[in-house]
């Protein structure tokens, strides 16, 4: 039997609540070697589309591959930066305009590592993790998002 660290779940059904973010921050108060936290939050925008306005994004994922990929990215970022902690949460299902769909959280002794790692994590997640967002429009239509 092969033994290895297994991918952690990153998916949350529906929006990520500010309360869960606060809880995640509070959980780090016992880690007294941490000097800086960097957090990125993705929020659903009410973009204007042909025919109407975005009211929500419906997220789906190739979950098994997404968790493997997130794990691979996680290991690479841990190897590259001196981090104390790293957390990734992404919504699945419907997230309404103004709600949070992505929560990336890095912590380190000195600020630079946390800040750089967080930015790189966000870029890699958007580019490499198989998740799709379908923008739901107020005219009952929909548009598949594409990351730039």
């Amino acid at each position: 039997m092969e033994t290895k660290r297994s991918p952690k779940n990153i998916f949350v059904q529906g929006p990520i609540s500010p309360e869960s973010i606060a809880k995640s921050i509070a959980n780090h108060s016992t880690k007294t070697d941490i000097g800086g936290h960097s957090i990125f939050l993705g929020q659903v925008r009410a973009d204007e589309k042909e025919g109407g306005k975005v009211t929500a994004i419906e997220y789906t994922a190739y979950e098994d591959m997404a968790l493997e990929k997130a794990f691979e990215i996680r290991e690479a970022i841990f190897a590259k930066y001196p981090l104390s902690c790293m957390h990734i949460y992404h919504s699945l299902g419907e997230v309404k305009v103004g709600e949070i769909c992505l929560f990336v959280f890095t912590s380190s002794k000195h600020r630079k590592a946390a800040i750089d790692a967080c930015e790189e994590l966000v870029e890699r997640i958007k580019k490499e993790v198989p998740v799709w967002g379908k923008e739901l429009i107020d005219n009952d239509g929909s548009v598949w998002k594409e990351n730039l």
Binding site: M65, E68, L102, K126, V129, W132, G133, W144
Partner: protein, 80 residues
């Protein structure tokens, strides 16, 4: 699923275009043969950007499809 078949799963816009999330096809040796079949069967896909993953790894260029592999059709990612 017979060993001589191939399971193809589709996501997002691709699933919408082929009107199913899952196909079971006769075995095909590589991604070029698979693409040939898909373009024939679903001409709409010829104008759609997508990638193929084999056993959860992105396949770049012509790639062999192992027997029993999980093949996935992935439109451009748009998470976050």
């Amino acid at each position: 699923m017979a060993l001589t078949s191939i399971q193809v799963i589709a996501f997002g816009m691709i699933a919408e275009k082929i009107k199913t999330k899952e196909l079971v096809l006769e075995y095909m040796p590589d991604t070029e043969v698979l693409l040939g079949y898909l373009y024939q069967q679903y001409p709409d896909l010829q104008h759609t950007k997508f990638s193929i993953a084999i056993n959860k790894k992105m396949a770049v260029g012509k790639t062999a499809i192992p027997v029993g592999a999980e093949v996935a059709l992935l439109p451009p990612f748009s998470g976050g």
